[in-house]
Amino acid sequence: MHTKPGIAVSSGVAIGQAFVLGVEDFRIPKRFVSVDAVDAEIVRFRCALENVCREIADNEKLASDQLGKQYGAIFAAHQQLARDPKLQGEVEALIRDKNYSPEFALSRVLGQYAQVLQNLGDLYKADRAIDLFDLEKRLLAYLLGERREELSHLTVPVIVLAHDLTPSETATLPRKFVLGFATEVGGYTSHTAILAGALEIPAVVAVGDIVANVSGGDIVILDGIHGRVIVDPDEETLADYREWAQRARKVAQRLVSFRSFPSETMDHVRVQLMGNIEFPEEAAHCRELGADGIGLYRTEFLYLESNREQTEEEHYEAYRKVVSAFPDQPVVIRTLDLGSDKVPSAMPQFYPQGANPELGLRSIRLSLADLSQFKTQLRAILRVALLGDVRVMFPLISSLIELRQAKSTLSDVMEDLEDQGVAFSRDVQVGMMVEVPSVPLLAADFAREVDFFSIGTNDLIQYTLAVDRSNPAVAKFYNSGDPAILRMIQMVADAGKKHGVPVTVCGQMSSDPKFVPLLLGLGLRQLSATPHVIPELKETVRHLTIPQAEAIAEQAMKLELARDVETFLREELKKLCPDLAT
């Protein structure tokens, strides 16, 4: 038995057999294939080549259309690399004559080419070697990607262990057979982690080397509560976890049975509990869990899932699905928050990263830099607003001028729709995310120009405490309970109250029941959270009175260290709802 600590990103415990996914980068899973598999392996290689050629052709078209012919030419050249008769001939010869696996053969052949080019010495020729690495990566992605499809052929429940999972891979995990997953990298607020919460499967990330050390079929305990993976557990540990899992199931069942009860405090103050979603399909599930609407719809997943730009109709269709689940309740559509770690894998060339992507061209800045894409989305939002209480929200606003630009683009779109005689709603509330420290500092000024605020604690913590949330080396500095964060939330709540602007908290912080008393105590009456925790949040709300919450908040605000704040809030939750404390 050995235990690997990691970061718990989605709660629950799963016990089952390990299923180990290959590593995408340059680690080749298998060097040789059996003689009778040679023909099949050659076919697999040719399919991968075909797919890569198609992908490159798509990129070529996109690049030519949007950036100009000279950019398209780069992809045309990649197309010629992929279609090189010599490359195909040499790889297939290695598979046939030496029984190399296609991955290994490809790596060898391209490696040799790259070396020849590098040895030529000229600077620009070394650059050519980089193009070869790119081709190799693409081909390997397809070759190994096919292996990854084995996930969809699962017939027994397993725990998936991988170096990393992309958001779209996570989203398409077959829920019936995937009991949970652990990845070697990642962080608490990585998008894969957020999706794991949405899928309601236990997950632990950042566990370090595990793929190489665990074999498929090993028994594994995935502890999504404490954040650890236990490989080959002894009988005693297994028994403990089985008992715990049974108890947790009972609590969950009891909580879900409360879904028709209103979310209000013991002294009858209504608290709106809404859901954060990434995919339209989740909206109906939020409703089943008793959500009061959608507080955050992360629309960029439309792009991440399909890997291309979306048409106005595609936007509209997705939004319509969400609104139809909540025709009478708020649906807050956040405009595209692409860039940084959220870049569609097929179009990295459109998202220049720079040395410091979190501080670079991302989110609303990207939208304002590419107005046509932004306007397409806004058109769809304004049209769908006819069907319900749709609100539009701009992410990552850092200055008033940015907010005004976004709002004036919205007005332009309204005018266009008006001129074209397209039906839409003018009556759309416009809000903004509070994610950059400049906003709490100037909250009163912003409050005069928006209909609502929504505090995105994930980015707010990152930018306030200067912690890259996905870097395990500094993850310990990323604390929701940091007094600076509490102070910022208070500033926004106070400004909101003074100017009659409602404030929601929608980051991971509001998905943690222990923060509920604090947030209510600071004056918040709206929370938006990962759907599956809504029953727990409601349970917490229903065990509180506002004066109690205010007392807890007052006490928490006096503490000096994040650690003390979290311990205090955990103890308070334990007193209020012993079932929920972990």
Partner: protein, 93 residues
């Protein structure tokens, strides 16, 4: 079909950055479906013009003189087309 060739002709590289990736790809694209053989010679190195990997190994900066060598049906037309590509600096139209 009558076989032609081998036909030879010299061309000069007039690209500022030499014969880099994009022009190489224009060459392979252009000769892809030609049934005969096409090689490009530079001093004592001869490469197959249908393989971009081969072409990339040519050291052909601005001013280099390359020899095209084509044989097979339609060789005369093909060589004319290739020369035109070099003439217009690989930017047709």
């Amino acid at each position: 079909m009558t076989s032609e060739g081998p036909l030879c002709q010299d061309v000069t590289v007039k690209l500022e950055n030499g014969l880099h990736l994009v022009p190489c790809s224009r060459i392979t694209e252009f000769v892809r479906d030609f049934p005969g053989t096409i090689s490009i010679r530079l001093d004592d190195q001869t490469v197959d013009a249908k393989s971009i990997f081969d072409l990339l190994t040519l050291r052909a900066p601005f001013g280099t003189i390359l020899t095209l060598e084509v044989s097979g049906p339609g060789a005369a037309d093909l060589i004319k087309g290739l020369v035109a590509l070099f003439e217009c600096n690989f930017e047709p139209d």
